[in-house]
């Protein structure tokens, strides 16, 4: 018995040894990257500028061998940038930069992607919600990752006690809103709202945009660690310059930009991605960007957001805006290159 089993055992051991060898080899090859960018989500047109800049060789022109690492539901971009795992990051928004600084993470925002709040609260035309006051007593879902504070502030500005509104965390799907089990849902202009428009129809929707209520949360913050910014400013400048160029190229040719993105994620819905890019262009070129260019850090907006986050105790202490949001890199780049 023991003799006949031996060859089979040896085969198993050989296989396992080979697998172990492969494991060791893949450790050795994982170190050739010069710089990396950690996105906040998987490849989609929301990040077209980066993918276009990479495909067109704009980063290479700046001497940067860039790797774009996608994000995911459990990825904290700020931590990865602070720890040095990634050189650059596309963080949730100004609010995540405030929160990171509040936790003493040494990350700095060098630009803000969308100049306006990138999400809205949406209700149905034939539903019970006509004004913000009608939120009272109805079911509202939102993301408890920052959007909830925008909602609280909007309600507070209108003198509405948020305890009277049934606010629930929003899950992945917009189906509960489409089916009518939720009266108000939160939707980004570039993603969920497009899905909802397709399923319910634009004319059947009522949109409550935070910006219309004087609350602006700029989002998609470009972040870097304090150390990288201090020690390799030329790398950061080159990265931002190439990124700006990538976005301008993407804005000038939506079709080609979506093609580039879809090379990374071929199963995406092309029309949805085209709509996403259009919305991104609108949000990124609005407001202060019209005057100062893409990724501009608008001081007044940031001060307002800071005060709002302090008021709701999202951040425990004052954050120094000059350290958390550094516009020196943008200012070092010619205005022509920044203008959309």
């Amino acid at each position: 018995m023991s003799i006949t089993t031996k060859p089979a055992w040896q085969r198993l051991i050989t296989t396992l040894a080979l697998a172990a060898l492969y494991l060791i080899c893949s450790v050795a090859e994982a170190q050739s990257t010069q710089a990396s960018l950690r996105l906040k989500w998987l490849p989609q047109a929301q990040f077209a500028g980066f993918y276009v800049a990479l495909a067109k060789g704009y980063y290479a022109d700046e001497g940067i061998d860039l790797t774009i690492n996608p994000g995911g539901p459990n990825i904290l971009t700020e931590n990865l940038v602070a720890s040095g795992s990634d050189t650059f990051g596309l963080s949730g928004g100004a609010e995540s930069v405030f929160a990171a600084r509040d936790r003493d993470l040494p990350v700095v925002a060098i630009g803000l992607g969308t100049q306006l709040t990138d999400f809205v609260f949406v209700a149905k035309q034939d539903g019970p919600i006509e004004t913000l006051e009608d939120f009272v007593g109805h079911r509202v879902t939102t993301w408890f990752t920052g959007a909830n504070y925008v909602l609280y502030a909007m309600l507070a500005e209108q003198g509405i006690d948020r305890e009277t509104v049934n606010i629930q965390p929003q899950q992945v799907s917009v189906t509960p809103f489409v089916d009518g089990t939720v009266d108000v849902a939160t939707a980004t202009w570039y993603n969920e709202l497009n899905t909802i428009r397709n399923r319910v129809g634009e004319e059947n929707l009522r949109i409550f945009s935070p910006d219309d209520y004087g609350i602006t949360f700029p989002r998609d913050a470009l972040i870097v660690s304090e150390r990288t910014l201090a020690e390799r400013p030329e790398l950061v400048e080159g990265f931002v310059r190439a990124t700006l160029k990538g976005w301008k190229e993407a804005f000038s040719d939506h079709d080609a930009a979506v093609d580039t993105v879809m090379q990374w994620a071929p199963t995406l819905d092309r029309n949805h991605q085209l709509a996403m890019l259009s919305e991104m262009q609108r949000l990124m070129t609005a407001g202060p960007a019209e005057e100062f260019g893409l990724y501009w850090l608008d001081r007044e907006t940031l001060e307002q957001e800071h005060d709002l986050l302090r008021r709701y105790d999202v951040i425990g202490s004052d954050v120094d805006l000059d350290i958390a949001f550094d516009s020196r890199i943008l200012e070092a780049i010619d205005k022509d290159e920044r203008m959309p």
Binding site: W9, L16, A19, R38, L42, P73, N74, N79, S85
Partner: protein, 256 residues
């Protein structure tokens, strides 16, 4: 021996094939006849046409996830076997390490995953590490249990013939522990697959887990179901491979 094994496998495969075909027919017929909306459950025709139109991400994803899973499973099995033998031999080691292994398994993989990305980056390796993390414990515990269940009379007999520790291990203890080890391997197949899929949720561009995540958040039910079917296929193939290996290596065992 051989023809019997072949007919047995043949009969089982035919039955399995018919069951799968039957389920597929029920699926397709019910979605088509009852007019189930695609956002609820898409028909199989839509799912296969999606895979046919964009085969590249599905093939690449399948290969990628399979590699992550197999590397993790192989490493987990190897480490688990070594652990089992060492812990069996050294009581002190068992008292020191086993509680630590148990603690390691109480950490939810989601918490662990964020660390893995920080330590191992976005490589294939980081997913294999998660698959490994989920598998080595099962193999360790079952190897240990298998080694401990060896009949002491048989050990005494081999000892009386002057067998060394090494001979005892390879000729009696490990072969006797094989049934337990194979039970662990079958569990580990499922665990390593879910480890690889979840590992891909920590930022990647290729893999079945990536497709799953992307389609989930885009409410793209067709891609979601296509990916679910491929994950199921990968799991079944791996399970079948382990079962086949078990048949070949444990030919002396009575089969249920």
């Amino acid at each position: 021996m051989k023809p019997r094994l072949a007919t047995l496998a043949h009969g089982a495969t035919t039955r399995l094939g018919l069951t799968v075909l039957g389920l597929a027919l029920v699926w397709q017929a019910s979605t088509a006849l009852l007019g189930v909306p695609a956002s609820y459950l898409p028909g199989l025709d839509a799912i296969f046409s999606m895979m046919h139109r964009h085969p590249a991400p599905f093939i690449a994803g399948f290969i990628r996830t399979a590699s992550e899973m197999l590397i993790g499973l192989a490493a987990g099995t190897l480490v688990g076997l070594i652990n089992g033998v060492l812990l069996h031999r050294h009581q002190l080691l068992r008292q020191l390490l086993l509680p630590l292994f148990i603690v390691s398994q109480t950490i939810p993989v989601i918490a662990f995953g964020a660390l893995v990305v920080m330590w191992f980056g976005n490589s294939l390796l980081s997913k294999a590490v998660i698959a490994f993390y989920l598998t080595f414990f099962t193999i360790t515990v079952n190897t240990l249990a298998g080694l401990r269940s060896v009949d002491p009379a048989q050990i005494r007999l081999l000892r009386s013939f002057g067998a060394s520790d090494h001979q005892l291990l390879w000729r009696l203890q490990l072969p006797s522990a094989l049934p337990d080890i194979f039970i662990a391997l079958k569990l580990a197949v499922a665990l390593s697959l879910s480890g690889a899929v979840v590992g891909e949720w920590f930022g990647d561009t290729t893999g079945l887990g990536v497709l799953l995540l992307q389609s989930m958040y885009n409410e793209d039910m067709v891609t979601l179901w296509a990916t679910i079917l491929l994950v199921a296929l990968l799991g079944s193939l791996s399970f079948a491979a382990v079962a086949l290996m078990e048949r070949v290596m444990l030919f002396w065992q009575p089969r249920a």
